[in-house]
Symmetry: none
Subunit: 322 residues, 2 copies
């Protein structure tokens, strides 16, 4: 009869996860407990299974998670969900912030490669080619970018942008400004693709930094564009834009309708409360961890998972001014 990890746990008087950790991350187990568990395992003739044995060969039980801006609530929601999911599997998550810099992004992947078992790369700014090359150094799962042969989680922002534009068209808006994000952003490209099929006349303004400051500095171009409605790259850009519009005496939504993307809490608190595309950040964080641990623990075909987005109508959109 095969001796299982449960038999060892019972005979040692410890939890199954402690036995698991004794083989996968012995330095995290109290020395006395470790000695007892190993002695019991020897006595019973327990052999950790293939996956567990792979873990003993240098697995750290840490995951890296790289984001473009740790201060953006879009990413902190994703981080919280990813670390909760990782903790269930006995992994810690280390987070690193690229400040939107592709060079820093590449350095961080390399720094993580030596310290963690795998990396979640969120909304990268690197080229696909570079990401593919870095995937040779450390297991990667990518969020919000399609990269060939790599496990991927996408949030369907193209569909969300379509809903936002339909909402504006239904309110009578004929000319709409799309305030785009940074170059290299997959999300920004998806939004532009969606805009190309809109009934409205959509003008693209950008690229812009994906921050409140980016929105603030787009105000002049937005006002000059003749648009009556705006779809911003994300909520931070929309919030910055609305601040700048208020300073110029342009009232939202009376004079101009504004829609953001993400559904961060800051947009819900401000005045007017922001109409936005809700992004499934928590689900994406959990899914990315599952894909990564799958690719870390066993060989599986890399998959692409696409998560739904939805329109949340609040106070920043209204009928087009005649």
């Amino acid at each position: 009869m095969t001796v299982t990890i449960r038999d060892v746990a019972r005979a040692s008087g410890v939890h199954v996860s402690t036995v698991s950790r004794t083989f996968s991350a012995p330095h995290l187990v109290n020395a006395e407990t470790r000695t007892r568990v190993l002695a019991v395992a020897d006595d019973l003739g327990y052999r950790p299974n293939r996956a567990a044995r792979a873990l003993t060969t240098g697995k750290t039980h840490n995951l890296g998670l790289i984001v473009a801006d740790i201060a953006n609530p879009f990413f902190s929601s994703l981080i919280k969900a990813a670390q909760a999911q990782a903790r269930l599997r006995d992994y810690h998550v280390f987070v690193a912030d690229t400040d939107e810099d592709p060079q820093v992004e590449e350095e961080l992947i390399q720094a993580f490669a030596k310290q963690v078992d795998g990396v979640l790369l969120c909304s990268p700014r690197l080229t696909n080619k570079t990401i593919e090359r870095l995937g040779e150094e450390v297991p990667l799962v990518v969020v919000n970018r399609r990269v060939k042969g790599m496990p991927t989680v996408l949030m369907d922002v193209g569909r969300g942008a379509g809903l936002a534009l339909e909402h504006l068209v239904a309110l009578g808006h004929r000319r709409i400004a799309l305030v785009t994000g940074p170059s290299g952003s997959w999300t920004s490209k998806e939004m532009q693709t969606a805009a190309a099929t809109s009934e409205a006349d959509v003008v693209f303004l950008g690229p812009n930094p994906p921050t409140a400051l980016g929105g603030l500095s787009a105000v002049t171009d937005v006002l000059a564009s003749g648009a009556t409605g705006v779809l911003a790259y994300n909520d931070l850009v929309a919030i910055g834009l609305m601040e700048g519009l208020a300073e110029r005496g342009t009232e939202v939504p009376r004079d101009l309708s504004v829609i953001g993307v993400d559904d961060i809490v800051t947009g819900r608190l401000g005045s007017p409360r922001l109409t936005t595309i809700a992004m499934p950040t928590a689900a994406a964080g959990r899914m990315a961890v599952d894909l990564l641990l799958h690719s870390v623990d066993a060989e599986g075909a890399p998959g692409v998972t696409t998560l739904e987005t939805s329109l949340v109508v609040r106070e920043s959109t209204g009928e087009a001014r005649r």
Copy 2:
């Protein structure tokens, strides 16, 4: 006379490098040997030299940074400044979030110990005793907690709380509620100490989770306290409290004045805009990195740096209702 690593090696009957490894990478030392070396070190009163320890572990050029809640803008401001300062010195920063859980905090310090050259521990929830013990495993710099013999950066929240209470007293408030933070929080204790010397009659309500939800669930106690002014543990608590007050039809500042702590952007955007104690988070992040890299690169006396706070009066405070 100072006890050296050589004295410990001689008395334990092992090589100097084994003593060194016992303190820098204990999982690499046989448990029996480790126990003997630690006992001898205790007997002789040996304190390992931080710099020597860093050198023996081999520099990774990575720093760990541990926060209680990565989603709180108080911490993201500190993180951004710390990573910018670290980057100037060619170090990467890996961030980890404890979700306010002391057990997770301890695990994360241990997980980092093997992967980074030193750790910045921000607003810890662990006991001082545990922090001192973990400081033997990896160089630590502590932010917002006094720990014996450890380099420390403090933000003078006691002085800030004093200014906040004086502001309320000047507006005619005689009974003030202090909505305290989590137990184990140094910041919360400092605020309580400051309140003890206030001219006003200050009631302590808590402990509370340091989140908007924590503030929301304090509403009933605040209303029952008979206070006309509130000093909240932080801005998130103040924002949650104001949301709850609005639901009960209590108007801020007409019926109740509210002050937060931190000066996060969310407080500046809401309505009414929040009066708060500005915390020097960016300066603290930079200073903590400087202290850590000093303690990593060279031996220096661990210092305590205290940074000033200030009162920012906005719209959530007004004259006490008669």
